[in-house]
Symmetry: C2
Subunit: 381 residues, 2 copies
């Protein structure tokens, strides 16, 4: 008997009540039973995104949301700034290129946050740049970018939108869409929303809708205007992923019951406890600047393969964390503390890492030294 612990940065654990809601007999998406679900979701997503605008839900992965944020607002030949500090930053470049949009790459060393001044400079020199694309939390590195500062720059430009991939940030940290002036805000179901993968969510500002009207990149399935027109009638453009919507209604109820402030402070505390925990055990957090509150990338100690740590966590203790991606493969392992996550998930993560590393020959710190540091944070509530 080995219990399983899912501590990967998506999919994250789905609370039993949501699993149960989704296992009820399926209903039809045009039936009167589904309309209150659409209405609740419309209202609660506005609350979660902190916006008065409609938030669109599409059946697809987070990448579908990222693609929609380019194909809906840009035309071939348009220039956009793509902030690239990790695997998901890179994806902006690839999507832009696929649609004939010209990305101006702002390359950021993996582990660091973007220098906002660089973006301001680029924008000040070129009036025609139509978008700034950034991750609020770069899942491959566990680093956050300063969305509020970026919004401060784009806000005053009539024809430049700020597009934020908040797939591992929304419902984790404060990202008040309307207050800060974020134009397109994207998330996915399998992260802080505590749902299985299969839904992407896109909030769109009034400024972005204006650009959408003249944007010429081809789009059909991911045409957000069509989704919005249908949503305003409590309907969907295409057959929605009904069970995921039913889970979504449950998840949003749970989130509203907790409240945004408590959700953010819980994530901040769990993240800090994880960082202090691994540091207390003598390990290094990969993030050099702003660490993400959703997950922590930990540098694998000298002589120990990060992939082996990840595999041993799984095989020896039933903990599914994540390894490093691309250039970080073998160099880091990643621990999520996002979504349906609390005190003892952090304790599990830190103590699991300690036991695995000690079994692999790590001698720098004794068992329990990291756990104690995590507890010191977690005990403060």
């Amino acid at each position: 008997m080995k219990k399983q612990y899912l501590l990967a940065p998506g999919p994250t654990p789905v609370p039993p009540d949501i699993l149960l809601a989704m296992s009820r007999p399926i209903i039809h998406h045009r039936s009167p039973d589904f309309i209150p679900i659409i209405q609740q979701v419309r209202s609660d997503l506005k609350w979660l995104f902190q916006t008065s605008q409609e938030v669109l839900t599409v059946a697809g992965s987070g990448t579908a949301g990222m693609e929609a944020s380019i194909s809906n607002f840009m035309s071939p030949g348009d220039k956009v700034i793509a902030i690239n500090g990790g695997k998901f930053g890179e994806r902006w470049l690839k999507i832009a290129q696929a649609f004939g949009v010209t990305p101006i790459e702002v390359k950021v060393e993996w582990g660091k946050s973007v220098d906002v001044n660089l973006v301001a400079d680029l924008l000040s020199k070129d009036d025609s740049i139509r978008g700034v694309y950034v991750q609020a939390s770069e899942t491959s590195t566990g680093v956050a970018h300063d969305v509020q500062k970026l919004a401060g720059i784009t806000r005053s430009r009539e024809n430049t939108i700020l597009v934020v991939d908040a797939i591992t940030a929304l419902g984790v940290v404060n990202l008040p869409m309307d207050e800060w002036g974020i134009d397109v805000l994207i998330t996915g179901s399998q992260k802080a929303l505590m749902l299985p993968p299969g839904l992407a969510f896109i909030g769109v500002s009034e400024k972005a809708w204006k650009l959408q009207a003249s944007a010429k990149c081809p789009r059909f399935y991911l045409d957000l205007k069509r989704e919005k027109d249908n949503l305003l009638k409590d309907s969907n453009a295409w057959t929605p992923a009904v069970t995921l919507w039913i889970g979504l209604a449950e998840s949003l109820k749970m989130m509203r019951a907790e409240g945004l402030e408590k959700i953010f402070s819980r994530h901040a505390r769990l993240a800090k406890a994880t960082r202090e925990g691994v540091k207390g055990f003598g390990l290094e957090v990969f993030a050099k600047d702003l660490p993400s509150a959703a997950l922590t990338a930990v540098v694998s100690p000298e002589g120990i393969d990060g992939q082996a740590v990840y595999k041993n966590l799984r095989d020896q203790y039933g903990i599914t964390a994540a390894g490093g991606q691309d250039q970080l493969k073998g160099k880091v392992f990643r621990l999520s503390h996002m979504g349906y996550s609390d005190v003892f998930d952090v304790i599990t993560a830190v103590s699991g890492v300690e036991m695995v590393l000690v079994r692999m020959g790590y001698k720098k710190s004794p068992l329990g030294s990291g756990v104690a540091k995590a507890q010191e944070i977690l005990i403060q509530e």
Copy 2:
């Protein structure tokens, strides 16, 4: 207390065993637990599609599959024949136009099947036509098109693919992809596959893959080559809709246990019983040519609004059927017999229609006359 019966052409009922499988704690899509699921799904989808090629699965609705069948195989300016005999036929035109592809419309009167000779003529006059797009079953009208005959025409043309929307046909009627020479075969999860909505499936022939290599329509999220490259490594391009995949593995096991021949004969029998049932009650089936085996569109009797029939079925008897769409709104109602459907679903449908119509003043036939006709078919096994 009113029991609920889902008899709409998608979503169709999900068997309890599949609901239970999907309600297990979620697993990670890169964990060793998920690999056997991918492997089973790869193998079983080939069996279901009757092909030796990989079948791609994307998180999205059936429309995502339709879009992929244009964006992956066509370039802007390419000409394609779009067979349009209903709401879903129309969608080919809209998607083609969104991507700058030129549709040559073959308009078919709603209720009729396409005249294959018209398609043959158009093709014989123009070597540059790159695709023929058709529904195997047009869900808005309950009519089938003759896919085998169309494949007989396209098969010998090196640069023309036959694209078949089999969203309400695959797993209902025989569509042997390789044997007939269907190039792109599309279905969705929420129909004969007995799953919730949220997955689209696309089978691609060798000929279509050759066209894909030079097709220039932009695609990223729905890039089938990227999906295939990942699938060959038992992986996915993007985070898959894990719970739906787990349900899929269950559903395909159930389908294999029944076997293709029995699945097809069951659907044929249920469809015939539904048609004979409503005719036995004095009603008219909307399909003038090949009726679909997935659903039956029934003409609402003179003076009775089809939408009211649909609503009364729901409100008086808890039966969720479907009304008519667009030009058929009010003129027909639609009864599904697809997927997790057997003898008493047809009896429920026909007897429910009888009771609703008698309550609405219909006097042409007595209660039970349709049910008796349905039973005459259903008793023959």
